[in-house]
């Protein structure tokens, strides 16, 4: 209890602390109240969300080819169920009540007083998911999770804890979305990942917010010896402002982190998206790749790699394409080496579509528009290694859905 009080105190002290990046939001403009939703045993009984709405968020309503599901609407967990042995899915509050030991993971990879958004998650009732793969467990199908906002002006506070125990494999596909008509809303999502020795976690997230939404995810990852964490993040649809800068700490020898981000900024959208990896054990490896396209919106594409010990290898790649006038892309790659024997590199490029490439495709029979869209699709076509084939297929499908609307 003492520790919890201390957390609350730290949160209170940071309640007005602006974030390091992104536009500063006044939390008083949002509402804490949303109607309670009923729990459903099966997703197919869920009336609030259609199969199509769920599909856009990456959730298969039938639950086919999924090892479990979690759905939260506004502040209520409406469904959570694991379908395979060795997997556990609970609401985070429920899990904290069930497992005393879980408190040892609580606010361990993200600081509660990082900024007013982390503080706000701690200072009011929150939900979120707890997912755990038991030691050595491997699932064929991914877990699916959806955090949905329906209530106008609602501030959704989420604290997720994901634990992959030693030698386990956990693949998560998650969509965050909101009802498109809502004029204003805020999603505050803390996610803490613990990847233990020889475990693998892939986290594929597609965001489908609305034009009036502000979004502030706060993620921290801890990867132990020979563990692997991979994040694939896609946002293509309009959102008012989005700022995130997840940090992975590689603490065990041979740990690996990979971040792939695909960002499309529509006019009026402000995306400030970064990824940070801190390599603090030998033979660790990191890769950060981002592809940013603006259709008129603003994008800051950040990346930061910090090599604290020798014998680590890391690469950072930021590429941006400005398709429409008025769009801005600010690529900010940072490399920080603290030991002599680090091998870190970066490459960044921002520009327009090369006319030479358009003409090359036109000479093969494509009209100018067809050639341009082929090049844009190619630009976004990041090769993702290590994703199970089913998940890769699913991610492509979700990207295509977004692409059709976005480009």
């Amino acid at each position: 209890m003492h520790a919890l009080n201390e957390l609350k105190e730290r949160a209170r002290a940071a309640a007005d602390k602006p974030a390091a990046y992104g536009s500063d939001l006044d939390l008083r403009h949002y509402a804490d109240e949303a109607p309670e939703r009923g729990y459903v045993e099966s997703l197919e009984e869920l009336e609030e969300l259609s199969g199509e709405e769920l599909a856009r968020a990456g959730v298969e309503k039938s639950g086919r080819e999924r090892s479990g599901s979690f759905v939260q609407i506004d502040g209520t967990v409406v469904h959570r169920k694991a379908m395979e042995k060795g997997l556990e899915i609970l609401g985070t509050r429920e899990a904290l009540e069930k497992y005393d030991w879980l408190w040892d993971y609580y606010w361990q990879t993200v600081a509660v007083d990082a900024d007013k958004y982390t503080a706000a998650v701690e200072l009011a009732p929150f939900e979120g998911y707890f997912m755990r793969a038991l030691p050595g467990s491997r699932t064929i199908y991914p877990l699916q999770a959806c955090l949905y906002i329906r209530e106008p002006r609602f501030v959704q506070r989420v604290h997720n804890i994901i634990i992959a125990e030693e030698g386990s494999e956990l693949h998560i596909i998650t969509g965050c979305a909101s009802k498109h008509e809502i004029e204003m809303g805020l999603h505050l999502g803390v996610s803490e990942f613990f990847v233990k020795k020889n475990a693998r976690v892939t986290f594929t997230m597609v965001h489908n917010w609305a034009e009036g939404m502000d979004v502030r995810p706060r993620s921290g990852v801890r990867v132990e010896e020979n563990g692997l964490f991979m994040s694939n993040y896609v946002v293509m649809e309009p959102v008012r402002s989005l700022q995130l800068y997840p940090t992975a700490r590689l603490v065990g020898e041979g740990a690996v982190a990979r971040f792939n981000s695909i960002l499309v900024a529509q006019p009026g959208s402000e995306l400030d998206v970064g990824s940070r990896v801190i390599l603090s054990a030998p033979r660790c490896n990191a890769e950060i790749i981002s592809r940013a396209i603006t259709r008129g919106g603003y994008i800051a594409a950040r990346g930061h790699i910090r090599g604290e010990v020798g014998g680590v290898k890391a690469h950072l790649e930021c590429r941006g394409l400005i398709l429409d006038e008025g769009g801005v892309i600010h690529a900010i790659p940072e490399l920080e080496g603290l030991a002599a024997d680090v091998d870190m590199s970066h490459e960044a490029a921002v520009g327009k579509i090369a006319q030479e490439e358009v003409e090359y495709l036109m000479s093969r029979g494509l009209s100018e528009d067809e050639a341009t869209s082929t090049i844009v699709r190619g630009f976004l076509n990041v090769k993702i290694e290590g994703l199970p084939p089913l998940l890769e297929k699913e991610m492509r499908r979700m990207m295509e859905l977004s692409e059709q609307k976005a480009l």
Binding site: E356, S363, R364, G365, T374, G378
Partner: protein, 250 residues
């Protein structure tokens, strides 16, 4: 010589074509005609306008036609964009094509191909199976680029085949492969009447060991200074250089 032939047989006709690139005149009144089924070669020193002629025939906007016309089967196509020409049956092999990241050679070949074209089989013929899943031209060697370009053309199966130095950078082993692909593109093994036309730029003339050409043109300073038997022209160029060609007509 073609001027005296029956004009009705001419598939691609270039009439008095002048072209400027970035404000500089590169082609000055070029005329030639390629009959149905014929292959022509273009000789000429560096900077004489050979590539410019091919690019202008394909319709790239950087190559601005200031006077003259290009006729394909009697249709004036001078103002058409490249894709309209490609759809009418023009196909070009680039000397230095750009890399298109995220677009694989397989996708590229499929874009060119009509339904029913077996891209994998063609890739097998060009010894490029392993390249199908790679981004087009990314990290390809000179010879690999030639084979990749030819693979795309084989998939496209054009009526007018424009080749810019198909043999440069190709080793002896692959030269045969390249030669064979060009023969196929130009229906050289067909005994009956061919329908394909070719215009090939060559510096070395090596490609003539694999592909017979009907007519040769020597381009100097943006003008065709000689049209005739390509073998004889090549022999002359090898012996006396291009200067003699230029002098010969004056």
């Amino acid at each position: 010589m073609y001027e005296s032939d029956d004009d009705r047989d001419i598939t691609l006709r270039v009439e008095n074509l002048s072209v400027e690139v970035e404000g500089k005149e590169v082609l000055r009144g070029v005329s030639l005609g390629i009959k149905c089924g014929e292959t022509h070669v273009l000789f000429g020193p560096n900077g004489s306008g050979k590539t410019t002629l091919l690019m202008a025939l394909m319709g790239f906007p950087r190559y601005r036609v200031t006077s003259g016309r290009i006729l394909f089967e009697e249709e004036d196509i001078t103002g058409l964009p490249p894709y309209e020409r490609a759809r009418r049956g023009f196909g070009i092999m680039f000397q230095r094509p750009p890399t298109v990241r995220g677009v694989t050679l397989e996708q590229m070949a499929a874009l060119c191909a009509d339904d029913g074209v077996d891209v994998e089989a063609l890739a097998g013929d060009m010894n490029l199976e392993e390249f199908l899943s790679r981004d087009v031209n990314h990290g390809f060697s000179g010879g690999e680029i030639k084979r990749s370009e030819l693979l795309q053309l084989l998939a496209q199966n054009p009526r007018i085949v424009l080749l810019d130095e198909p043999e440069s950078g190709v080793d002896m082993e692959n030269l045969q492969l390249v030669g064979k692909a060009i023969r196929k593109l130009l229906q050289k093994d067909l005994r009956r009447r061919r329908t394909k036309c070719g215009l090939i730029i060559t510096h070395t003339g090596y490609i003539l060991d694999y592909v017979e050409a009907d007519v040769g043109h020597v381009l100097c300073e943006g003008t065709v200074v000689c049209s005739g038997n390509p073998r004889e022209q090549l022999e002359g160029i090898r012996k006396y250089g291009f200067e003699e060609c230029a002098r010969c007509t004056r």
